[in-house]
Symmetry: D2
Subunit: 277 residues, 4 copies
Amino acid sequence: MKMTWDGYGKQLVKLVRVERHGETHEIADLSVCIRLEGDFAAAHSAGDNSHITATDTMKNTVYALASDGTGEIEEFAARLVSHFLRINPAVSKATVDVWESPWARIPVGGKPHGSAFVRAASDKRTAVVSGTREATTVRAGIDDLVVLKSSHSGFEGFRNDIFTTLKETSDRIFATAIQANWLYASTGLAYGTLWQGVRRTILETFAQHDSRSVQHTMYAMGDAVLATFDDVAEIHFSLPNKHHIPFNLEPFGLRNSNEIFVPTVEPYGLIEATFRR
Amino acid sequence: MKMTWDGYGKQLVKLVRVERHGETHEIADLSVCIRLEGDFAAAHSAGDNSHITATDTMKNTVYALASDGTGEIEEFAARLVSHFLRINPAVSKATVDVWESPWARIPVGGKPHGSAFVRAASDKRTAVVSGTREATTVRAGIDDLVVLKSSHSGFEGFRNDIFTTLKETSDRIFATAIQANWLYASTGLAYGTLWQGVRRTILETFAQHDSRSVQHTMYAMGDAVLATFDDVAEIHFSLPNKHHIPFNLEPFGLRNSNEIFVPTVEPYGLIEATFRR
Amino acid sequence: MKMTWDGYGKQLVKLVRVERHGETHEIADLSVCIRLEGDFAAAHSAGDNSHITATDTMKNTVYALASDGTGEIEEFAARLVSHFLRINPAVSKATVDVWESPWARIPVGGKPHGSAFVRAASDKRTAVVSGTREATTVRAGIDDLVVLKSSHSGFEGFRNDIFTTLKETSDRIFATAIQANWLYASTGLAYGTLWQGVRRTILETFAQHDSRSVQHTMYAMGDAVLATFDDVAEIHFSLPNKHHIPFNLEPFGLRNSNEIFVPTVEPYGLIEATFRR
Amino acid sequence: MKMTWDGYGKQLVKLVRVERHGETHEIADLSVCIRLEGDFAAAHSAGDNSHITATDTMKNTVYALASDGTGEIEEFAARLVSHFLRINPAVSKATVDVWESPWARIPVGGKPHGSAFVRAASDKRTAVVSGTREATTVRAGIDDLVVLKSSHSGFEGFRNDIFTTLKETSDRIFATAIQANWLYASTGLAYGTLWQGVRRTILETFAQHDSRSVQHTMYAMGDAVLATFDDVAEIHFSLPNKHHIPFNLEPFGLRNSNEIFVPTVEPYGLIEATFRR
């Protein structure tokens, strides 16, 4: 028997960091996942753990490195990747995922409070940094950006086979929870500004597109991001089609003029693609 | 054997309603739960379903009544309650829960789009209307309003017993997911405006309070709501204490000046109370 | 403003206890929730915590008391209730919920292994003990006992109103996740044996009943339990109707002889009742 | 911009099939996910859906093909793969995941009932069949097989770095939720018998192994499966380390002789590897 791949690490290390500037605090709310690959064969075949950094140590490392500040999540992930490559010669590759939950200041009398916060939105900012001793790649992303458009969306002209019952429509609800991640062409970028820009571009494209399918709008969003941001080399989308089915009111002598929908959870369509410059 | 209580109904009827005014659409995204109580003994003891409104019919009713518009969720719930009391003489009490997920218009070039939306926040607006042939009560509420304050929060002077190890602190993170619901003193109120007002009062009180415990701030929030809104007769809070534990950096020769916290999921404190005028 | 009710405690204290008898181990896998009620008004109104047992102390207490063994979950809950009433004079009522996840020994060569276990089933055994200085009540229960019967189940003769579209059927799938809890008439009973007996009675009745509705079978299960177990004073059921909808194969020229079903998650019926001797 | 990869399909098509042989019924409880890859570029770039099989049609296909019976889940997945390759010339590759929830007959008076079932275990049987016009691969698997061993498990001799605080132990609880999937060397095998055999081999190896780490036991399980089953060409494991942390009873003057553990949910270790013959 040979082992053709292995990796291990710590999942869901949760961290909240408070940075205090007098009465004004900044908070970072992060979840970190770490995976190491390298020369760990003896641990598997002989129970020899001498090359193994305990996953508990990985957890400690997250909190210890955060004590210097976390910065942008791409930077924090990169520091963790570098650390594990440096601290353990058996490690040939380290991958760190970070996601950040958004908080906004609570407005009090119209002014944002210095140290009281409310969860701002449902979507999360994500980063994945992967590094070997030779190279590092930085990906950023968005998770669970829930959107819906109630016009300029149809689905027509699809294949008809023996099991097709879906009717063509030029006016359907298009709802999804956008998951996107993109590869940066270089490192050391203004990650925060770029992330805000990509998120805005995706949202604006979604809003304005005359959609003939999920694929069609996904392509338009990819195109807009790559056209606008030179620093983005590649973008990947994963879009669940959160179907909204018109409820049939005819049995009650009522008309449903595309107003009353049943949002369904399962089954759901899933449409994915990767676009490159 | 006697049956001392029974009730039945339909849970999680999901409804999205699109109201179209040319290019400007309004959407309502609701989940509805219905429970009927009444004279259903024969169904239990003899399998006689003649008094039973099928839960499938309840589901249909939600969509059918929504075709006239839903209005404020308290109003929609009240219409459903009235309907079930009217349509089935065996029903003596009907209870309808509605909760609404918030959407915001996607900004495009700084202007809100007419028919494209993004999930606005994590908290939900809720209503529970309960009615008999004699009386109706209307409760409104908030669910999962996630907040955190990083100053003006301590926990000191609690009882010390043989199993106490928690240290007193005058500076701890206070984080919770506020669940609140309140009883209105009358019906036919400006529910939307009131709900926004209560939510704002809760948030502002949470932000500004010098908290000595979750109980202490919960009381202050109840007090503020009852002092501000004459229409609120009673308010109930359920506040999970989402503990944030300072991470011990001493083994690494580092200091944690109340900056690095481990947010924990379980176990968690749960603090509840009901306040009346 | 007056406070009309309050209570607080710790939720989801997780505990695994290993009892070692040489190579043969016993494990108990418990989740514990605690709620105290009493004289805590000053904590709310004045931030005076002197009557407050910290929820962190409650957590410690669970592990400390478990070091003497846990016994049946009803007994462990009762010990915790007694402890909190004794240790804090401000407490007038304590309620402890415990639920236990089932494990079975892994068979090796046909013989059960002494210290290796596999999760045995999806249902959990539950207990709720509630005590004041005057009295204690013990409830036991079952949670998430997922069952399905594919014969001897129909739903006919229900009310027909303007929004009814459901067809009557004498042959439908009846699937549910049984949640039941029952009050014991006294304490100090053979809780483990009783629990196994009630579970078996519920399952056998579900299997054998000619069901005209969920209500009908729920009543039969309640009747069987109360008829069989003198120690049970009351039983409550909460039964979600996990609808299985026949898929319409007619558009494809195929027949569905009640063979192909779509199990749905939402919306779902919920049928509840309490039966007393 | 170029599209470097794309695929789409339907997720979570749920199906329950009842096969009736008089009073004895068999049930199959399946979830099916489908993904198609092929020549769909025009859908993305031009909104031309003529090559697109609607995901709604995929859903219908699952139910329609099930009307002939489902057989082993590997066979049902393979029939779906063949169907989509045949029905749509634009499809170059189809991948179908199926997982099956286990049910057992309810025993009544010691005898298994013919048509009443109880959920049997928490783990699921899975299959993934992937096919092009040239070749088909069949993988089978297990998901969420929750196991725990309370002896013969340690973790010692791991690397010590500046952030290491974990103590070595020769006696720890090893708990995990086994996710495994394996590639068959050929098709048309006795999939049901093989699956039972692989599951049993994994469980027995887990139970009997003297574990020095999760890696060590994972390797042993892979080795045992590949040694026993010639039809398995490759096996992949993904093992979350469900940490059980001894609770510190010293502050209370009590001893914890490795008896009282806190099972934790997060963070958790994750150990993965692929083994080949």
